[in-house]
């Protein structure tokens, strides 16, 4: 649905009205009346009230900054279809900034990195995860043997979960170096 949404956004159709149409398209299935002359019709009251039947709401937290605003994410068939502010969150009190409001689109962005890649002779090449793991591990192991573990610099992130950040630090320790850091330094 991501790409359809993007196409729709590049035309004059507003986001909300598009979502209404999308709901109708879903209801009609493959033999949608999109092909007939009545391409659009007003949504029914029920469709406006509940455009994503069977969806579930997930409470989660914005990743933009350290305020920690609440997000209500609506998910239908495994797709993040709608994002709402959390009116009852004790810090954000129903607020979102422009970055926070964009979380749903960040996740669904078309320009995400979609598969592992390697640069070879100046050209990007798609590779499998297994190949990526194998080639990187081989090089890390050989550097560790020949130059020692301190030949590698690890840079983790303040955008990881605490568990991931902890396991990142632990990874450097088990690799055998204190050359590890993250954005708190800057």
């Amino acid at each position: 649905m991501t790409s359809t949404t993007q196409n729709a956004l590049s035309t004059k159709i507003g986001r909300r009205s598009f979502l209404k149409m999308a709901a109708i398209a879903g209801a009609f299935g493959a033999t949608s009346s999109f092909a007939s002359e009545n391409v659009t019709r007003p949504a029914t009251a029920e469709e406006v009230k509940n455009p994503f039947p069977g969806s579930k709401e997930v409470k989660t937290i914005c990743t933009a900054c350290s305020v920690g605003c609440g997000i209500t994410a609506e998910v239908q068939n495994g797709v993040w279809v709608r994002q709402e502010v959390a009116q009852d969150h004790p810090i954000s009190l129903g607020g979102h900034c422009c970055k926070g409001a964009d979380m749903i689109d960040m996740v669904r962005s078309e320009v995400r990195l979609k598969y592992p890649m390697v640069k070879e002779a100046g050209q990007w090449k798609r590779i499998s995860w297994d190949t990526a793991y194998e080639r990187i591990s081989k090089k890390l192991n050989s550097l560790r043997e020949t130059s020692g573990p301190d030949a590698v610099q690890f840079l983790g992130s303040a955008k990881m979960s605490s568990e991931q950040a902890y396991y990142f630090r632990k990874f450097a320790a088990f690799f055998g170096t204190n050359n590890t850091d993250h954005q708190a330094r800057i």
């Binding site: 495994g78 050359n179 330094r185």
Partner: protein, 750 residues
């Protein structure tokens, strides 16, 4: 901060700012960088008639909401604060009883402050004596006052002095440990607090345990691995205890040994491989050096949901790997807000495309590097499991091990319950009701036990320890120069069995300090001290006695291990005031082996009259629609559309002197010999002696468009010159944070 009273973290909360009568902000711009958090500031104004004071080199959007605004010259926060202290002491506005009972070394501060008369401060900072006096009076008379800062205060070669003097200013007024007071640092990224607490750092293990062999032994034991085996993974035990390269200067590890580069000390090798997860290294200072370092590496691994622009910046042709990492909405785990509140970030969707969550990537590498079993063993230890569940078993592993900042109470079950019940908490006090009674939202650390409700206001002695009260931490010994460092009489937290100061609790003193007798069984189980007591006997006994496990001591104004024992003014390495550089020079000696690399101070500062050639101050900061290196946000067409191009805020008078037109192009030259060409934007937010540039752009390097370096279909919607191509050399003498908030440049019409 940690060196003043024990912990380096925001002391109160955003909601608590609503209790403030005055708010003073140094080098932070929450209206833009924490817009939703800023509503609590505005509520303080509306409900409490709180006076908002903004000290900033730029008239920011936060300044636009202020009652008082002072346009300070970059890098002169120390003189400004000493000026405030001068007026406070002169008028007797300090809280004498508070200082007597809870602070060590304020007399030294008083002496230094006496030198900083308002007139002298005016000359150095550019803020008039009248304005300084007006601001000081309003702030000192409107207690409780909260002091806010962000990177505008920290990113200086004297960043540590800045972040020590701000707490001292608050201590002088008795503004610490009270509702509506505190030193409230606004963190940048969503989990800066959490990732820092987890020791994702070059100078410490998780929980700030440091790198001594004692710390490593504690972790080896807690991870269920043999200490000797773990030590064997390192080059030697010696290297195991040495700080690593930091994010600020890792590139020096690659370039060290080349002509003109700072000398490195890295176990006899240069850096040859870089492994990055979720870090926009195109937003660190010295981009030209970063590029050169990337070009010279043998292996670059970049795991990110978007293309890490390090891959774009470099001209390296081989062995750059891009791994699609999942976003935080495609996995779950703990995120710690700026006020130490933990929230459970529930997974929204499965990882999209071929992306994988960070932990899966780390686990697979651990398998292939041959240490997976040892690496994950600690997740099985709590309940003798055979298989672990991510992230819950990692959360519980952390709770089991990290005592220093009191994470024992942060079990996965409790954190989830808080997020599930976020509607049951008060926005100001963060107190819970109903099922969440007696707990604060997100159990702000220290959360000493599995029934403790967290600590929302650090160092508050008007609450019992059980309710989150505590004195200052006993971290710096029992006495210094013959003065007792423990807190004065009757200054223990409410309801304490010991009403006075007391040391941090260990197995030897617990009975005497708490006035209890341990059973033989307890004596057999108890850990050596509160920091390594995985039996939790110390914490549990302390809760019963109303005693803070880390002791009850004085905050200190003197740090006897630092080059400047009390904060001193030192001009930035690149200062527009050459006359003041002579009077207030940087550190005379360069620092050897500072995070493995020699670092220049006075020798660089005095090597040239920088201001003659580079007369304009350069200030960098954020924009409301972008974040960090901007990778994520510039990949959003909506956010990118708000600022599609890199630009420079410039005062029309300054622009006119150089023939630069609004919307025309201008070139900024740095003392490093680098330059960027960007669009000029006329603005009165900057004065004619300084310019502002945002630091979120990448993809253009010194006039060279690197668009062709992006793999097909991955280029963000906006690219531009990186501000950090022209930020200047300069690093804090303790933390090595770069001096990006007060460099110099020269401008010309492009």
């Amino acid at each position: 901060m940690a060196n003043t009273w024990g912990y380096g973290a925001m002391t109160n909360s955003l909601g608590d700012i609503q209790n403030s009568k005055a708010i003073i902000i140094f080098g932070a711009n929450p209206a833009v960088n924490h817009p939703v958090g800023f509503q609590h500031f505005l509520k303080a104004k509306e409900r409490n008639n709180s006076q908002l004071i903004v000290i900033d080199p730029r008239f920011t959007k936060t300044a636009a909401k202020a009652d008082f605004y002072a346009r300070i010259r970059p890098g002169t926060d120390v003189p400004f604060m000493y000026g405030m202290l001068n007026i406070i002491f002169k008028n007797g506005w300090e809280d004498k009883k508070y200082i007597d009972d809870r602070v060590y070394g304020m007399d030294e501060i008083k002496k230094e402050a006496a030198k900083w008369t308002p007139e002298k401060v005016a000359d150095v900072t550019g803020v008039s004596a009248e304005q300084l006096m007006q601001i000081t009076k309003v702030y000192a008379k409107s207690t409780p006052g909260t002091l806010i800062w962000a990177m505008g205060l920290t990113q200086h070669s004297v960043g540590t002095s800045n972040t020590r003097l701000a707490p001292i200013l608050q201590l002088s007024l008795g503004n610490m440990g009270v509702e509506g007071g505190g030193t409230n640092i606004l963190r940048g990224h969503d989990n800066v607090q959490g990732a820092t607490d987890m020791g994702c750092l070059a100078d410490t293990l998780p929980g700030y345990y440091g790198l001594s062999s004692g710390s490593w032994k504690y972790f080896a034991k807690s991870w269920g691995v043999d200490y000797e085996w773990l030590a064997g993974r390192f080059k030697s035990k010696d290297w195991m205890s040495k700080k690593g390269f930091s994010l600020a200067r890792w590139y020096a590890g690659v370039l060290g040994g080349k002509p003109g580069e700072d000398k490195i000390h890295n176990a006899g090798t240069n850096l040859k491989a870089l492994f990055v997860m979720g870090n926009g290294i195109t937003s660190i200072a010295q981009q030209a050096k970063v590029k050169e370092a990337l070009d010279n590496l043998e292996l670059i691994v970049l795991a990110d949901p978007f293309v890490n622009e390090a891959a774009i910046l470099t001209d390296k042709k081989d062995d750059i790997f891009l791994l699609p990492a999942a976003t935080q909405f495609e996995t779950s785990g703990t995120v710690v807000a700026t006020n130490r509140t933990a929230q459970w970030r529930y997974q929204v969707v499965e990882p999209m495309y071929e992306s994988k969550p960070d932990q899966d990537i780390m686990f697979e590498f651990a398998k292939r590097l041959g240490f997976y079993k040892e690496y994950t063993k600690a997740m099985l230890m709590r309940d003798n499991k055979t298989e672990f569940k991510w992230p819950e078993d990692a959360t519980n592993e952390i709770a089991r091990i990290i005592k220093t900042i009191g994470l024992t109470g942060w079990t996965a079950d409790r954190l989830k319950k808080h997020t599930d019940n976020w509607h049951m908490f008060d926005e100001v006090s963060l107190r819970g009701s109903g099922p969440m009674k007696d707990e604060y939202y997100g159990l702000p650390w220290p959360c000493w036990t599995e029934t403790h409700g967290g600590s929302t206001v650090l160092y508050d002695i008007n609450r019992s320890v059980k309710e989150g009260g505590m004195g200052f931490r006993n971290r710096f010994g029992m006495e210094h120069n013959g003065t007792d460092l423990l807190a004065g009489k009757s200054s223990a937290p409410k309801g304490s069995s010991n009403p006075n100061g007391y040391p941090e609790i260990n197995a030897k003193n617990i009975e005497a300090v708490l006035g209890i007798t341990l059973t033989a069984d307890e004596k057999a189980k108890i850990g050596k001290n509160w920091k390594v007591d995985t039996s939790n006997i110390i914490a549990e006994k302390c809760m019963k006695a109303g005693i803070a496990p880390y002791g009850n001591a004085r905050a200190r104004a003197i740090v006897w291990t630092f080059p400047d024992q009390i904060p001193m003014h030192r001009e930035p390495l690149h200062s527009p005031r050459t006359d003041l550089v002579k009077k207030y020079p940087s550190f005379e000696k360069d620092k050897e082996n500072h995070f493995r690399v020699d670092t220049k101070y006075g020798t660089l500062q005095s090597s040239k009259d920088w201001a003659k050639e580079f007369p304009i101050n350069l200030v960098t900061a954020r924009l409301v629609n972008l974040n960090g290196a901007g990778m994520e946000n510039r990949a959003s067409k909506y956010l990118a559309a708000l600022t599609p191009e890199m630009f420079c805020d410039i005062h029309p008078d300054l622009a006119n002197n150089h023939g630069i037109r609004n919307g025309g192009m201008m070139t900024i030259h740095s003392p490093e010999g680098t330059h960027i060409t960007v669009k000029a934007k006329f603005s009165f937010s900057v004065s004619p002696d300084r310019i502002f540039i945002p630091f979120h752009f990448a993809g253009v390097f010194q006039g060279r468009d690197l668009k062709s370096h992006y793999p097909d279909g991955t280029a963000p919607y906006a690219t531009g010159e990186s501000a950090n191509t022209v930020t200047n050399y300069g690093y804090d003498i303790i933390t090595q944070i770069p001096e990006t908030k007060g460099g110099l440049c020269r401008i010309e019409k492009a």
